[in-house]
Symmetry: C2
Amino acid sequence: MISWKNLDTLAAFDELAKKEKVCLKCALGGEAGAERVKKYQVPMAAGMVYNYAAKAVNEDVLDGLQKLADEAQLVEKFAALYNGEVINTGEKRLVLHHLTRGQLGDAVNKDGVNKRDFYVAQQTKIADFANAVHAGKITNGAGEKFTTVVQIGIGGSDLGPRAMYLALENWAKQTGNFNMEAKFISNVDPDDAAAVLAGIDVAHSLFVLVSKSGTTLETLTNESFVKDALKNAGLDASKHMVAVTSETSPLASSSDYLAAFFMDDYIGGRFSSTSAVGGAVLSLAYTPEVFASFLDGAAKEDQLGKNANILENPALLDALIGVYERNVLGFPATAVLPYSQALSRFPAHLQQADMESNGKSVNRFGEPVNYPTGPVLFGEPGTNGQHSFYQLLHQGTDIVPLQFIGFKESQLGVDVNIQGSTSQKKLCANVAAQIMAFACGKDNEDNNKKFNGNRPSSIIIGKQLTPETLGALLSHYENKIMFQGFLWNVNSFDQEGVQLGKVLAKKVLAHDTDGALKVYSDLFEI
Amino acid sequence: MISWKNLDTLAAFDELAKKEKVCLKCALGGEAGAERVKKYQVPMAAGMVYNYAAKAVNEDVLDGLQKLADEAQLVEKFAALYNGEVINTGEKRLVLHHLTRGQLGDAVNKDGVNKRDFYVAQQTKIADFANAVHAGKITNGAGEKFTTVVQIGIGGSDLGPRAMYLALENWAKQTGNFNMEAKFISNVDPDDAAAVLAGIDVAHSLFVLVSKSGTTLETLTNESFVKDALKNAGLDASKHMVAVTSETSPLASSSDYLAAFFMDDYIGGRFSSTSAVGGAVLSLAYTPEVFASFLDGAAKEDQLGKNANILENPALLDALIGVYERNVLGFPATAVLPYSQALSRFPAHLQQADMESNGKSVNRFGEPVNYPTGPVLFGEPGTNGQHSFYQLLHQGTDIVPLQFIGFKESQLGVDVNIQGSTSQKKLCANVAAQIMAFACGKDNEDNNKKFNGNRPSSIIIGKQLTPETLGALLSHYENKIMFQGFLWNVNSFDQEGVQLGKVLAKKVLAHDTDGALKVYSDLFEI
């Protein structure tokens, strides 16, 4: 029987908080430190590894984390989720994004449909469509092949798919899996759509309109932008657009679209990269096989999430360490630092996935919680970040726990040898060096040049960023966020915090304002 | 006589900390709230305004902030800086980036040169070069015009210039000021350079190598990448490259470059956008006049920074409110949220400028401080952020002070009218609505749909994002960072925290490691 309890009511949390703190700098020194780096790692899918040797944990703390995982019934709660319970209690919805990449448990039937079959059917429909586009069987009005795909969506319909597209662009070009260039229109700022449209050949562009409800204001506005551009070019918009939406949305059966691909209410926007929301643009830009491999990596990583042993469940362990850092050690933020230019927008995607899921002040029963929940998350690729905000990370007054990601090989395989090493080796050397610099620091009689160390980090290491490793990475973070939500006892799958702004913006546009809001509107001459 | 004291030793800070806290929600309600929005604003340069009505201040707190500014001698310290004192004490350097855009005080003579004349001479040299390139007087080896400019640099030689280029790209195209497309290579990740080079026509590309010291490893490595690409295309690299560096660097007089433009040790990388570092790429991509207008906006804003009255000095007031939020109210992070897609990388630039400057734990004399200094800074453009991390900002357990930026008009002027309003009006309505939603919240019997409010924000409002407003914006934030550094009594102009990682990375590459670092190196197969 699952019991949903606040973190601060768990005996294991109380016990954990009382444990002696680990001196990271001490733990990583000497031969014991070397052994620790070899030992403190968990295999992930696709040949990757999650290494937590530079986190402020030891056997005692890990034991406490295991007890916390057990008492909080984290893997049981995950099982309840993938077996189809109503985990998103606020909106009374199932949470089924795992089913888009595999069957983790029982068959989930809902609305008279086997949901795994439903998601697979959409993947097949997308694959057939993408193959037909690539083969020139589906063309523009003049019978010419489409060369560009443009995703129109915002939030979860933009950040994830965009980050995944960028992550695989070089790889796809290098491996002959590149079919169409992808662009993205998201912001209601008219300059976003106008600039993208001015930079593409609209006559050979296929637009993917993504909105689950079919009512997202930004997205519908940008659709009009695109339709105007197509019309001004003398083109039939309905021959250039497809929709990704729910079956019940006004877009689902509209003749405005060449085709419609479906998601449903059980796929949250920020968890939709493995649904049709990511599937359409990735299958079109690359190939359906690339998307399938991405799903396969995620499915394999999801399987690891079922392990009750925290030392065999990287997402679970990562989640527990994060909660330990947030709620016991008291660190207010976290940074994700991929040493891979291809992952340039991966932190922005995680920023949504994490902060929108766990940035909550009430538990899943609507009662205020008495402890910090989701932290601020930010990040930029290394080595760029080293020349930017790392100063604060090394010597600032707050400690920011870090999550590094690195790959042994580049995607394009083009490199130069300077001062005895390739750029790829330099990249890897830098991330290895940073982990040690943060953890162990360095004394100096000049305080200004002194590094206190004891700044914790973990690293995920893979051979190369491929569709499969990317899927595993995505799954890791999605499941980490889910486990943390379980620990904080919040509903990670709604987002009521975005509603008030929408309501007030409508009032401003309707000139239905008074007081301060009216004056702000006047300042903008609305 | 200027006296450099720690924040917590100032009587005015003690007094400020004891003042009654402001109920923002109460202050912004009703007619008094409307009056407050009209009153709580300070004019900026280029017709902009800094509005702080939604910050948790009142007349009493403002009075305390004025006293703090006076006791900390903030404008006197600014005067010392622009009059040429050694403000960067750690590196024993002057801090002269303001001189790149105007003469704020006394003539500064250093190394036998009037430094204002020196910076102007570099601007003139760049302008002549850019005009010759645009006119086809300086061409590639085949006598053809250059069409693309590629900046090679990292950190301050990348983030600022890149953010400024993106900010003005639409505007320049719309106003006929667009001459060359710009690209940027920064990361040592070989996929960064390889992908950029694969996407351009190298035969018609001019490369701008930017490194003050001429020794930045990433930049020299990427230069080799570019030279290889030029050689492989049968081209003479020296006909395709210019250098931006210091006069004493090995690049300064090398025959490898068509020309060299100079900065010096008194321009910190993160403050170099208005020096030759930003000047070369912006003058080439756009025009020298566009760059001059950008400098003019910054110069006008710099002038406002001299006002001792905090109600006439927007950067000073913004700085003081930020320190009040950090050190009295205890908020650990801050977000910059431009409602302008063109400012998509402006927060990333500010992330460096702010966190690298003030992420310090020792004062300017090398003594540890007992209070928090620079906060974590992050941000993404609105309305995109609304569909991402705003959930946490509205309902998370931590309060994150916000800095909005918005413009009444778009840059391209292309728009659509949907549901009775243009996209630009929707964009502005959203930012106005967000300010009120954060500040005033909304009660609800369902705690999950309740907004506590009292989440502070400020906004900078301009007519349009132009070179002049962009320059003023940049100056505002640079000076805010400087004033905050004065308040925290840190040296905002060095970055010793980046050194240790560099040293260890070299050891890894030389295989001069043992213990944990060796194992990490082995995991990457270095």
